[in-house]
Symmetry: C2
Subunit: 201 residues, 2 copies
């Protein structure tokens, strides 16, 4: 299969790392939705990444739906207990909210001239971004460091990728000193082979 | 359980209809992320809808993750063939892209003063919106009308809810005459009891 999109998108990187962790071989086409619009349009006219092109040519988009597809390929994996699934969905929801808010801030700052940027919007989204990381900080305080345990689940991948993205793109807003457990969790995750193989830049 | 959010959000309505279809009883709190910010913050500090509050108090967000949770409650349902799942994920990805682009247009128009609206952004997002509905038009041409068959799956719900939303919020951009099969599919879906019970306005 082929994964389309640059790893500077947390949504793309989340999928890439899960592909690595699952041991699935794939071709990566690091195309930009802005600089390589025409090339992406030929693969996915909606021009969204991540896009996953299956071996039979079918095209999937939306990182959560793509990860659901990957889970279907592991039919022999034991089904987790409902409580564990709910916890993973809860953490993933928080992390995806953090992605969305960080991306909205990046888009506001980078895709608009200064006179088209809207301060109340940035303020609202920044507040939401902090709320998501505050909740995740409480959660990460209870998690073992993935580099030490040698294992990480999909929710953990989603958290760590989101924090690395926030540090690259919004370091003036969410700071390690305010989210020490998330930061330690992510630094530990970034030592894992699947993360090292898919750097965000 | 409690579902938080107004049905004018396609993400909220998508979940509400799937709850109805699955026969799950729930309390609906139609709170607005703008007008009822403080009330929502007490339930979900990230201020995102849909938010689902489970009976044990855990809070889930993100419509796709919530629907995944609902699917876990139906453990006795036969697992669909992989090809059917992939098709559903493909259609759902297209429909969610259409949601995202329509919401971006609504936010641009309604949350910003005119002088902060950015024409190149609206143009890009509008193009993506058309691309998503064009692909879905081809798909709907092959689907039976849900009101006639009496059945609809999660992908079908997601498509119909998205089209009704687009007709309410962006009727100047995506027009029934250009997407006749999607329009017929949605009109038919909107006759189903689960849709009638959860009107978008």
């Amino acid at each position: 299969m082929k994964l389309i999109g640059m790893l500077d998108s947390p949504y793309v990187r989340r999928v890439a790392i899960c592909l690595q962790l699952q041991g699935i071989s794939y071709e990566h086409l690091p195309l930009s939705v802005f600089r390589n619009m025409d090339a992406i349009r030929e693969i996915n006219p909606v021009i969204k990444v991540p896009t996953l092109v299956l071996d039979d040519g079918q095209v999937l988009m939306d990182s959560t739906l793509i990860l659901h597809y990957l889970s279907l390929l592991r039919a022999d994996t034991p089904v987790p207990a409902l409580a564990d699934s709910v916890r993973a969905l809860r953490l993933t929801g928080l992390a995806l909210a953090a992605y969305e808010k960080a991306v909205q801030i990046v888009y506001e700052r980078k895709l608009r001239p200064l006179d088209k940027q809207h301060a109340p919007w940035l303020e609202r989204v920044g507040m939401q971004l902090h709320a998501a990381w505050t909740a995740l900080e409480h959660e990460c305080a209870q998690l073992p460091l993935p580099g030490e345990t040698g294992s990480i689940d999909q929710a953990g991948v989603t958290i760590a990728v989101g924090w690395s993205f926030a540090q690259l793109e919004t370091p003036d807003i969410v700071k390690p000193a305010d989210y020490r457990c998330v930061h330690a969790y992510t630094r530990s995750a970034e030592t894992l082979p699947a993360f090292l193989a898919t750097p965000p830049v």
